[in-house]
Structures are given as C-alpha cells and as structure tokens.
Symmetry: C2
Subunit: 300 residues, 2 copies
C-alpha cells in the first residue's frame, strides 16, 4: 500500500500506533520525550527520517500536544522529512469557529492555520464543523481528509440489536445520523437541543414512537455527558425498552460516564479515536486506507 | 512615556500586570479565559484594541501558555493591533539550543521562531542563552530586548550585607556575576560545575578565601535547586559565615526550596519575573523603561 514510510508516535499512543502501523504496513518509531522539572519538553526523533513521515496524535486535552506537534514537525523537516502528514483522530478546537461575542478568539481558524503551517496533510475523524463546510477551510493544508466513525458504529450497533432506532441529540447531527442509519435500514430521528453554558442543555424529543424500541443515542462527541444523559431519561420516560450510547469521540470529561449510566443508559460504545475504556470500534483500517491516498511527491 | 497603549494580561498575572501598567503609565485589560471540560481554551480580548498592544506572560510551565499566546496574538491582530509586543520576564525553552544527540528538537530555535511569528518585539530578563550571542538569534523579532535582574539583586544584597562575596555556581555565569559585583565593588568568584542529568550536579569551589565571609550565591535561574544546595554545603564547609541565595528566575520545582534551606542556606531572594514567595526585587520599572524604547510605527 503506498503512503508515508514511517509513523511517529508518542508513548501513550503505543497501542493505537501499533494498530495503525499494522493496518498500513508501515514502520513505526516512538518520539522520545523528556519532561524537565519546569514543564519544558525535550523531544528526540529518529536521527534520520525518510522523505514521507506521518505523525499520530489525537488532540483531546490539546494544548501541550500542540506544542509537541510544533517541536515534532519542525524537527522532522530538519531530519529529512519532505512530506509530513498528521493523523489526528480527534481534532481539537473545531467548535470555536466564529466570535460568539466581540473580541473572542476564533480558535478553529487559528489552530487550523497553525497545523497547516506544520503539516502537508491532515487526516481526522468526524471533526465538529458547524459553520464551515469543509475541513480544508478550517485547516488549510493541501490535503485535508475527513473520515467518519458512523459507518463502523452502525455496524457495531447492527451486531447488537436486530431493529434499533438511532437517535441524534440535536438537529446538527441529522445528516450524520441518517447516513449511519441508512447503512442498515435503521429507523432514526433527532432531538431538539438548546444549550445554556458548558454543562446545561435543554432537550425535547422528536415526535416519534419510542415505546418498546431499543434506542441507540448516536453522537460525534461526548464531553460533559449532560446532553446524552438528559436525552436518555426522556427516551426511557417515553417508553423506550433500552437506551445505549454510541459516539465517535469519547472525551467523557470528569463524571460524564457515571452521569450517563445513572440516567439509565445500558451500554456505552465509542471508536478508539480517543483511547477510553468504552472503545468498541477500531479506526485503524480506515485511517490506513486514508494514508494510502495521500499525494506524496516522488523524489525526482 | 511613549510605548504601547494597552497591556493585556491573564488572571494569574494580575499583580505583576498592575505594577507594570503603573510603572509604564499604560492602560491594562484582562484577557478573559474559559477552560472547557476537555482542556480547550476560549479567550476573549477587548473588542477593540489600540494600534500598539503589549502582552504580559512569563513562561514558566510554558506549553499551555504558548497556545494562549498563539490565540492571543492572532486575535489581537484581527482586533486592530498593528504593533504587538511580548513582555515575558521568564522566557522558556532557551536552554535547548543545539541537538545534544542526533534527532533532538532544537527547541530554542523552534519556540523562538514561533514567538517571532506572533510578535513584533520581545522583552525578557536574563534569558539562559549559552551558544547564541544575542536574543535576536534565538527569537528573530525586529526588536529583542534583554534586561538583567543582576543589578537590582546586587542592590538588594548591598542593603543586607556590608561586605558580601558573590559566588556563581558555574563558569557560564562568570561575566554576569562580575557585572553584578562591580556595581558595589563586591568580591566575586565562580564554581566549576559538571552536570549529570536533570538533578545531579558535581561542583568544585574556586580557590578563594571563604572563611568568615557572608557569601551570596547568585544565579539566573533556580530550578531543581540541587546546584545551589550543593554549592552552599561546600561553602559552609569551607568556612563561610553565612550563605544566602539570589536568583533572577524562581522556578523552584517540587522540593527545591526545602533542599536549599536544608543545605544551610539562610535567605533566598528572587526577582518577580516568576511570581514566588521568595520575590524580593520588582522588575516593573526596568520592564516599563524597555517598553518605552520600542519602535512603534506611527499611524501615518
């Protein structure tokens, strides 16, 4: 399979890196990292790099990782990398895409341009894009590839329920839910959601018959868990036989998971975009496939 | 006093910012910062900025702060700032100035260029430069201004000891120690230091008469505290009447301060470049003076 010659990764991503390297038939090398007592990082890459290198870094809790990527990418260029790609299964800072109040940092654009200054290509999964149509608008690299966890989550759900109903927690997810549902002919619907602050949401159920149904709440990202917990309570009150949760990105901040289970949710499933005990679906095959489509300039 | 029109600062730097704004006769405004549960930051600056703006951010534990500076600087440009300066009393990542082993990130150059891409001018105090002669080589901005905490520390020492002897913990500090000493005609000397890893150092005292002397160990930065503690023990064993410590940058990681005191050190003094209980000397007047020397293009 063509694609980058070497996968660079950090210690805590060892397992994901191994799966990706195996799927892509690619060599891998760990970036050595030392943390000084004052918080500074020292990174060490292989002393000689091939022409095409990819870096694996999922960007939950992103700030320190962005500095690691700065140091990594700039150093890789000096060590021989000509084409540098980033596989970031979870891409941070995509939600702040306009200044909601005057003076606010439009972090999506700033972080996107920062990454575009470091890499020739970016591959990610279900980025939370609202007001921009394509990833390339947010991260203006020559190649910006968006994958989705929805088909694999849909397959996983199909292996656990004969006739489930997929429900999205808000209208934003309507198209995404419809695609996941169509793969197996599942019924589907979306809730209406109004957000007040980070942890407070008000949800109303769609007008659909939930009685006796095995409902699976499907979303791109679960962070505080409040939205999913609230939707689950409403669904169970509306007669759903069971509620499970399936998400691409298992951020699950603080007490999110207990709150979801306390709301009556049975199983919680996620892709391994962010390593988490709920991971049920592996993205490595899709990521490897995307790597093989990169346009890497030949050495001539 | 000419100079930037507005000082932007973060909540934890309120006290330093107030002192600097007072000294410079400058307006100040806090950058509002919200931290999402997944570690992302949301920043909000004043909705309209004057043409010349300075940002105060000391860079101990630098990684997240570097992302804050990225978001701040890029946003400030969109809000009207034409000349953007950074006052960073402690400038991080200045020690890794070559690849000590093949493949290592030369963080000084990478972080320096990153900051130079954001700001038109940088003002700092006693940056730990070894193999580069000027700050501008490390941080290639149009104006890179280096101040020193040594004269003010020397004045402070002069107010506490009639005839102290200043001792630097290694030869690198020789010139810096000599300048501090000459201000009040203090005797001075430097130790010989060999470092093995982050926390292990071997020191030998210079051939000087320490018996009965009030010695002050002077250094640009105290991090693990091992070097200072070791030097203090040797000095007391060599007959010094007392040993105090004076440093520009009070990093003091983990148990550094107890270790220094356990070694027999009496007082520990620092500048306020990094806020710390040992702060004895205020840099605001010098920083304000430096701000007034910036070449800010007129609006014509």
């Amino acid at each position: 399979m063509p694609g980058p010659e070497l996968l660079l990764y950090f210690e805590e991503d060892q397992a994901s890196a191994q799966r990706l390297a195996d799927a892509a038939g690619m060599a891998m090398a760990r970036i050595e990292r030392h943390r000084f007592p004052d918080g500074e990082l020292k990174l060490r890459l292989p002393a000689q790099l091939p022409r095409s290198v990819t870096v694996l870094r999922t960007l939950d809790h992103p700030n320190e990782k962005l500095v690691e990527l700065l140091l990594t990418a700039q150093t890789a260029r000096t060590l021989g990398a000509v084409h540098l790609s980033l596989v970031t299964p979870y891409l941070a800072y995509m939600r702040q895409d306009i200044a909601f109040h005057p003076g606010e940092a439009v972090s999506q654009r700033i972080v996107g341009r920062f990454l575009a200054g470091l890499f020739d290509a970016v591959i990610t999964v279900d980025p939370h894009l609202h007001r921009v149509a394509t990833l390339q608008e947010a991260v203006p690299v020559p190649q910006a590839i968006v994958l989705s966890g929805a088909p694999l989550l849909s397959d996983w759900i199909a292996s656990h329920h004969a006739n489930p109903m997929l429900v999205g927690p808000d209208e934003e997810s309507a198209q995404w839910i419809a695609q996941a549902a169509s793969r197996h002919g599942f019924d589907h619907a979306v809730c209406h959601k109004v957000r007040h602050g980070d942890r407070e949401v008000v949800i109303t159920l769609p007008d659909a018959p939930f009685t006796g149904r095995a409902v699976v709440l499907l979303d791109d990202v679960a962070s505080s868990g409040r939205t999913l917990a609230h939707a689950a309570q409403l669904l169970l009150a509306a007669g759903a036989a069971s509620v499970d949760v399936a998400v691409t990105h298992a951020l699950f901040a603080d007490d999110a998971l207990p709150i979801i289970h306390q709301a009556g949710v049975n199983a919680v499933w996620s892709t391994d975009c962010i390593p988490h005990p709920t991971n049920a679906v592996r993205m490595a095959p899709l990521l490897a496939q995307a790597l093989s489509t990169l346009s890497i300039p030949s050495s001539e």
